[in-house]
Symmetry: C2
Subunit: 260 residues, 2 copies
């Protein structure tokens, strides 16, 4: 359990890198960064300078502004190769994609949200643009509901009480409704996203257990609503449940037949 105080410069360094993710802007000046993070200008410069020397930022010589460095790309490669969940799940994602031809995602919990860690894209799909590493809220995604459903009660309550952001007119933004939805998810063993994050987009998601009441990740099939409806009629839900159980057994040595 981590309790010691964080090292300031490291926190600051990463908050600079993260700023580029949240700001939506590819380039920032020293001044912008120092103001955004409320740091002294010369302090900011020292941090930026270090990150630049290490290759995690790069300076545009035209306007002197800084952008994220390409060296950051190398980590995603390593994570994909080394992460147990991604390695265990990927072949199954391929299998589902081959059978249904739709985009398949794998997501894990990440402080009150989900982060997509792997995907296999539908060929020619320009419709779904989720990039690996993206974060989404729990209440408006299929994978999020699967994860939320097996969180400890106190964590669930914190989510219910939080601001449930409206994404579409289908998003569940009412605490009581969400609580009821999650109850149904547990009972059914799978979760739907009925155009709750994007109109026209439907997902079917199932949890992958690594132990009793412990969800390692969730996998989902996403696509145009009409196409997913057809897949559902062709037994998509049961297929996903069966695959999730296989992953639990093969990758996490856990027999989750009683959880379903």
């Amino acid at each position: 359990m981590a309790t010691t105080k964080n090292i300031q410069s490291i926190e600051r360094a990463f908050s600079i890198l993260e700023l580029f993710q949240h700001s939506g802007c590819a380039e920032h000046s020293v001044k912008e960064i120092s103001e955004a993070l409320d740091l002294n200008k010369s302090t900011t410069f020292g941090l930026i300078n270090t990150l630049t020397n290490l290759g995690y930022l790069q300076q545009n010589v035209e306007n002197q502004k800084y952008a994220l460095g390409l060296k950051l790309l190398s980590f995603s490669n390593t994570v994909k190769v080394q992460n147990i969940i991604i390695r265990a799940v990927h072949p199954y994602l391929e299998q589902i994609n081959r059978k249904y031809g739709e985009t398949v995602h794998c997501a894990v919990a990440q402080n009150d949200g989900v982060i997509y860690v792997d995907k296999v894209e539908a060929t020619g799909s320009i419709y779904i643009s989720t990039q690996i590493g993206t974060r989404n809220d729990l209440h408006c995604t299929g994978v999020g509901k699967c994860i939320l459903a097996y969180l400890p009660p106190e964590d669930q309550e914190r989510i219910y009480a939080s601001n449930l952001k409206t994404m579409t007119y289908n998003t569940i933004t009412n605490s009581e409704q969400l609580r009821e939805e999650i109850r149904k998810v547990r009972q059914a063993g799978y979760a739907m996203d009925n155009e709750e994050i994007s109109i026209g987009l439907t997902c079917v998601a199932v949890p992958v257990f690594s132990g009793p009441e412990t969800v390692a990740c969730a996998i989902s099939v996403s696509g145009m609503t009409s196409r997913i409806r057809i897949a559902q009629e062709n037994g998509l839900v049961n297929e996903l449940k069966w695959i999730a159980a296989s992953i639990s057994k093969n990758a996490f040595d856990y027999d989750c037949s009683r959880d379903i």
Copy 2:
């Protein structure tokens, strides 16, 4: 120009993250890391603890060892979306892939090496496994030769004088031979990798200019030797040169017709 001294903790934090890339091992203990980087145990713990709290490392509760955190994935997404080169080049990679059906890469220079920043994979290709973010040497890759050919003379000489690692029996490991090869690359306007990094694998690569003698990146087509030979007979080289010129013009506003 960066001259100020780097902030120690940031350097150390990233050297921990980079250790996971080089070691090839997904999990490391505090002791292992502290020994590998020659840092005091408690110092190492402080660094690891901070990185863990920030989500860039995660602890395996089973054995207490640490692994790279999934939060690192999010950066690759942002870099891909924000990086000018990747955004400019990607559609052309798709175009080449559609026409020839082979794997297409884009790589940029990264301290005496190349780093692959984007790719479009041949469908069903399990043969080529280059992951985005991977680094390779300059002397044994098509993209590397393209970049090397337009480096300032002093940088070129440093490469020629360096240890030219043998990858296959075709790798050019002799300084004089490499110098001659690079001369030919400049003259021809493209570079080949004739099974110099992996037996059975051939690449054709061209430089993309952003200014006179300035290579922004290089793009390459890779595949089984026999298939690339066929593509070459179907005008692959000229097609690549033409596409590289289009990218230079459209993305970097540079007319490189005189360079070819």
